[in-house]
């Protein structure tokens, strides 16, 4: 048994119009560039994208933006793609801005079966407007609901055929969280290994979270994004 899918298109067949899609990565670092590329080639519309950034101008999720496939984006730092502002000004995209820690924690809560939680982050700021405030033991918190998605596309370093994952340095970021919080989870990885080759104590994402694995073909290098042979 293997969760490996040879065909990117096939792996992405679960993504439908108006779906909520989580996309791992901090900018391009740890982003599932191959799967994002697959989405740019797929006929799909009205997506809600949950991701820290919307890529960069013309790169990563930035391409999906210019293809008008994104209805709404939930993230913490859209500033990294200057085109997002233009789309927002023209009313062509809806944005939900969350503090980065709240974005991460809400995704974790979604994966952990929680309804939401109280955080100190953002209390008394513009980003707390409309949010329930509550004092617990003399400290003010705001309520943040859990976040889930229909599909999560993430990037890992190595996977075994069961679906256990480990990550590479700061390319870990949101990926292990998103792996827990979607109905279908697709991981693109640099390297496939056999079960037992990953240390049981060091596996970051146990296989029960992962539905499909694909081979990464788009790689982030010093020189930018490079596409590896088929």
């Amino acid at each position: 048994m293997t969760k490996m899918k040879k065909n990117i298109e096939d792996a992405l067949s679960c993504v439908e119009d108006h779906h909520i899609v989580m996309v791992g990565g901090f900018g391009l670092i740890g982003a599932p560039l191959t799967l994002i590329d697959g989405l740019t080639k797929k006929d799909v519309k009205g997506l809600t994208i949950i991701s820290n950034n919307l890529g960069e101008a013309g790169k990563g999720l930035g391409i999906l933006l210019t293809q008008n496939k994104i209805k709404k984006a939930v993230g913490s730092y859209f500033t990294s793609n200057r085109e997002v502002g233009d789309y927002y000004q023209r009313g062509e995209i809806e944005l939900q801005l969350l503090p980065q820690g709240t974005l991460a924690e809400s995704i974790r809560a979604g994966g952990a079966g929680l309804g939401g939680y109280y955080t100190t982050t953002g209390v008394g700021t513009q980003l707390a407007e409309g949010k329930e405030e509550r004092e617990i033991n003399g400290i003010k918190y705001i309520f943040e609901p859990a976040i889930r998605a229909n599909v999560a596309i993430i990037r890992a370093w190595k996977a075994d055929t069961l679906g256990n994952l480990v990550y590479y340095k700061t390319a870990r970021n949101f990926n292990p969280l998103m792996a827990t919080a979607a109905d279908v989870v697709i991981a693109e990885v640099d390297e496939m290994v056999e079960p037992g080759e990953l240390d049981a104590e060091s596996i970051v994402t146990p296989h029960l979270y992962v539905d499909y694995i694909v081979q990464a073909k788009q790689i982030l290098t010093k020189e930018g994004v490079v596409t590896n042979g088929q």
Binding site: I29, P99, A104, G124, T125, Q126, N173, L177
Partner: protein
Amino acid sequence: MGNKQEMQELIAKRAAKELTGPCVVNLGIGIPTLVAKFIEDDHVYLHTENGLLGVIDVEEDDIDPNLVNAGKLPVGEAVGAAYFNSAESFAMIRGKHVDAAILGVLQVDQTGSIANWAVPGKNIMGVGGAMDLLVGAKKVIVTTTHTSKDGKSKILKECTYPITSTRSVDMIITELAVFEVVDKTLKLVERMPGVTIEEVREKTEADFTE
């Protein structure tokens, strides 16, 4: 005051003096990032919110595109470093496990409130980890030029931009002076070499005590 780089380095150097180990420090983008190279204590451990405790400088030849800081700049991995996911990283911050954060600002006011994430009239597009660091870091040090490009004081009576937190920062370091924030008031604790009290007064909109 000399050129921009000298001014930034002066501020960063002074900020570095505040860091005595063992401690864990998060450095923001801009001048705060420069602080790293002036830290003398080996037991100051740098945390970056994208998932690494143990940030060090990296040589050009050793750059790894998947090893970056919160500003997406290439960094190195210290001996004894650890990687973690974004939720764990912000759990560290919000849970008050980070001893100090050094941050840049757009504005800071005489109560120690800061504004560093949004400008009125522009699209509100990015906040990143700014709000988390403000509520979580045990000590927050602001490093900023004393005035904006057009010569206006960045240390105001009251922030006019959206604030980052209701929490006051602890210290403000500029190329002219160092202020401590005590009970929501500013206290001038130091002037940079050659800076007169008159100059500080002239370029500071905020009220402060000496």
